[in-house]
């Protein structure tokens, strides 16, 4: 849990935030002060799941997420703060921006996983610079083909053959990416089940670490393949 690692400095911040900025009465995490009804800034310490009132899981109920996003948008959007004080307008703007980032992150399964794993166990976004071992040969070959294609006349016979090869390679890589995503999905389910059990035994911890490592590897491999596909599409158009 990320909260264990808070330094005293950020705890002070949280304390400060649990008071209404306007009337100084207590507001514990609510978005609007009970007493003066003024909007409160969403704390930087609030994770996106808490922000949406969702459990910290890798699988989320999309329709619930969307409904909550719309509800909070109606609460925070600057459109509804035109007649309010400057302080409230600033809070509304900041909250709306945070809300939009939170929604964008949680809506996408991959970004959601990266975010949650980051919360649970530190950054997962290690940037891969060399191909995953099982793709090594394939990627090297692809790079050769790409180079040959760039050097060739696109209208020539050779150019057309190379292009066809690249198109086939693109399909193959997209297939791989899809496979990885399905694999990830299974790991997500496993992870959530483990969390639901709330088991703290040594065996469960080992299982947790194993899942974590597998997900991290898959996530970075998938990002690698995705970037290759993007480059490929940019080259062959």
């Amino acid at each position: 849990m990320a909260h264990h690692t808070h330094t005293s400095g950020s705890r002070d911040l949280q304390m400060a935030r649990s008071m209404c900025w306007h009337c100084q009465s207590e507001v514990s995490g609510e978005y609007f002060c009970d007493r003066c009804v003024k909007v409160q800034p969403v704390s930087k310490e609030t994770d996106y799941f808490t922000c949406f009132g969702l459990p910290r899981r890798l699988t989320v109920d999309q329709s619930k997420l969307e409904a909550k996003f719309y509800e909070l948008s109606r609460a925070f959007h600057p459109d509804f703060y035109q007649n309010k004080s400057e302080a409230e307008q600033t809070i509304s703007l900041g909250n709306a921006a945070t809300l939009n980032t939170a929604y964008r992150t949680l809506r996408d399964p991959i970004q959601r996983a990266e975010y949650l794993l980051d919360l649970e166990a530190g950054s997962v976004k290690e940037i891969r610079t060399s191909p995953p071992s099982d793709l090594f040969e394939e990627i090297l070959e692809l790079q050769d083909t790409l180079e040959a294609y760039r050097a060739s006349e696109s209208a020539s016979e050779a150019g057309r053959t190379l292009r066809a090869q690249l198109v086939a390679e693109q399909a193959a890589l997209e297939g791989r990416k899809h496979e990885m995503e399905q694999q990830l999905q299974r790991l997500f389910t496993g992870w959530d089940a483990l969390q639901d059990r709330g088991d703290a035994a040594a065996q469960a911890r080992a299982e947790r670490d194993r899942l974590l490592k597998q997900m991290r590897d898959l996530l970075s491999n998938r990002t690698y393949v995705k970037n290759i596909v993007t480059d490929l599409v940019a080259t062959i158009g």
Binding site: Y70, H77, P78, D79, F80, Q82, A96, R104
Partner: protein, 606 residues
């Protein structure tokens, strides 16, 4: 809260609308027309805007500005390859295009402000109240500089711009309001100067933009040019005449090309006639719809790639789109409708007037801001990725295109050299890898505390607000102190310059009022002098010589004052003359009364 109006500031036509009994409505002018042509002419008698200015396009082409929206937020280099098409002289100062009109130069926001003022006066006259707040629409694909320029135009016109709204999104508001639609819609907006495509999800009053794309330099103007070039080529070969030396005829060709294009939306063939200069007769030809379509096909095709990109960004296929809505005058072209139908595989909607729907939507958004409409909410996106230049001239993206706004990103900066006191930051907008291929938005220098390299930690927050406009804030993470950031726009007016233009515009407004008062006073004085002379010649025999002398004196006084520049003095001398002439007019009325009575007696007797 005082009333907020909605304004569609178009390349070709501009409109103003407001909310009346829960319904948006467009304000008509005296002629009943709702559209004000976005044309400004500088005449000897002052500035004129709209329909009357349109007449000056061929009469004084070098002093009549049209399509100024194409220059908003741009430098001269951006429009280099179309300079030849514009009859007025363009220069650049401080990264901003300047338009030369007579002895003065104007920035595009100043010209746009003149159009906005016209709309402001129009709605003020209609409602009988002063209007100081507005929502103004811009093409969805407008970048930060173009949006800022539009906001500046509002300020110069004396309008507080409470929101910049994207045109297709505004259209969807007007459309959704009327139809109570749910589902995914595509808004295809092809106007006079710009093209936009926006994909939206409508659900329970929330209008969520999923993706947007477009081209801010693609519109009916480009079609007109293509057709005009066709005519000009033929005039050159058939009549051995190069019209480019005749700016007035160039404008006549452009206008005739546009009229022919518009007619061909309803007819299959049309007759084109253009008078040639120096008594060289006239150029005539028949233009068919097929010929038109063939010559502009590639321009219309250019609208389809952005549509595909938007679909791709939103993760949608054409089959996912429930409805396609057409906005903008150029969507009246049958070829455009056909291509849109083919792309999306369904018949596009055009139930609402494509000319007015954007202004109507702007009025709805204005009503949301003033708290009138509470059930609708627009969640728009930023059309272009925002980033900063990093080492090696590469752009590092901070906020991706199609991110819902408001959106923010934070970035931490530090120093590389001991004691370094500042870091230069270059903000960019665009989708390309290299900084130089993207649009430069602004630069600023981040102040650093003089410490060993790597120790300072300054966090910069880049925030795109609900207008799609960037705000930058910086704070020192070590001290918690915030730092003011002076951002210098690459293609925009500085705050000082806008300030001065607002003052100028206010001064001009007063000068304009004074000038108009003077002209009116002179006209009225002239009329009074004429009637007085007429009365004197007819009725001097009816009054005393003293009275005649008094009138003569008053006439002389008014005649001299009339050539002066003080309208008040003219009015005062007019009053004097009216008083001096009082006995004369009384005597004349008396006399004519007497004679009419005599006449009656005669007839009664017989």
């Amino acid at each position: 809260m005082s009333r907020i109006v909605g304004i569609d500031l178009g390349t070709t036509n501009s409109l103003v609308a407001y909310m009346k009994d829960g319904k948006p409505c467009v304000v008509p002018g005296r002629s009943g027309r709702t559209m004000v042509p976005s044309v400004v002419a500088m005449t000897d008698n002052g500035l004129i805007v709209g329909d009357p200015a349109k007449d000056h396009l061929t009469r004084s082409p070098d002093r009549t500005v049209y399509s100024v929206k194409r220059f908003m937020g741009k430098g001269l280099a951006d429009v280099q390859n179309e300079l030849a098409y514009f009859p007025y002289a363009l220069t650049e100062k401080g990264g901003v295009i300047r338009i030369q009109l007579g002895a003065k130069t104007y920035s595009p926001p100043q010209i746009s402000a003149m159009i906005l003022k016209e709309l402001k006066q129009r709605v003020e006259a209609h409602l009988g109240e002063s209007i100081t707040k507005a929502v103004i629409t811009v093409p969805a694909y407008f970048n930060d500089s173009q949006r800022q320029a539009t906001k500046d135009a509002g300020l110069i016109a004396g309008l507080e711009v409470l929101r910049i709204v994207n045109e297709p999104t505004a259209a969807s508001l007007a459309y959704g309001l009327q139809e109570k639609t749910q589902g995914t819609i595509a808004v295809y907006d092809f106007g006079g100067g710009t093209f936009d495509i926006s994909l939206l999800k409508l659900k329970n009053g929330i209008f969520e933009v999923l993706a947007t794309n477009g081209d801010t330099h693609l519109g009916g103007d480009d079609l007109d040019r293509r057709i005009a070039d066709l005519f000009l080529d033929e005039i050159k070969t058939e009549h051995h005449l190069d019209l480019s030396a005749f700016p007035d005829h160039m404008q006549a060709v452009r206008l005739e090309a546009e009229r022919a294009k518009v007619r061909l939306s309803d007819e299959l063939r049309t007759q084109v006639t253009i008078d040639l200069p120096d008594g060289k007769g006239r150029y005539t030809r028949e233009l068919t719809r097929d010929q038109l379509d063939a010559s502009v096909m590639d321009i219309i095709e250019r609208t389809l790639a952005p549509c595909r990109m938007a679909l791709n960004d939103a993760g949608l296929t054409p089959a996912d789109i429930d409805e396609v809505v057409l906005v903008g005058g150029s969507t009246r072209m049958p070829l455009v409708r056909q291509r849109v139908r083919e792309l999306f595989g369904k018949q596009p909607h055009c139930d609402l007037n494509p000319d007015e729907v954007v202004a109507l939507g702007a009025a709805v958004q204005a009503d949301i801001l003033s708290g009138g409409t509470t059930d609708l909410l627009l969640l728009d996106v930023t059309p272009l990725s925002l980033g900063i230049e990093t080492m090696g001239g590469v752009m590092s993206s901070l906020i991706r295109r199609n991110t819902t706004i408001p959106a923010s990103a934070k970035e931490m900066f530090t120093t590389y050299v001991d004691g370094q006191t500042g870091v230069d930051i270059h903000i960019l907008q665009g989708e390309r890898e290299l900084a130089q291929d993207n649009r430069s938005l602004a630069r600023f220098r981040l102040k650093m505390p003089p410490l060993p390299a790597g120790v300072p930690r300054i966090e910069v927050t880049f925030l795109i607000d609900a207008n799609g406009i960037l705000n930058v804030k910086a704070s020192d993470m070590r001290t918690g102190q915030s730092q003011s950031v002076e951002v210098k726009p690459s293609y925009g007016l500085s705050d000082n310059e806008v300030e001065r233009m607002i003052e100028d515009s206010f001064k001009f407004a007063q000068e304009d009022v004074t000038a108009r008062k003077l002209i009116e006073a002179r006209l009225d004085a002239g009329a009074l002098l004429t009637t007085t002379e007429k009365s004197l010649s007819e009725g001097s025999r009816l009054i005393t010589p003293d009275a005649i002398v008094a009138i003569r004196a008053a006439v002389a006084a008014l005649t001299t004052t009339k050539d002066g520049t003080d309208p008040k003095a003219i009015r005062a001398r007019m009053a004097d003359l009216e008083q001096a002439a009082q006995p004369l007019s009384a005597a004349m009325i008396n006399d004519s009364l007497k004679r009419s009575l005599q006449g009656k007696k005669v007839t009664e007797v017989t």
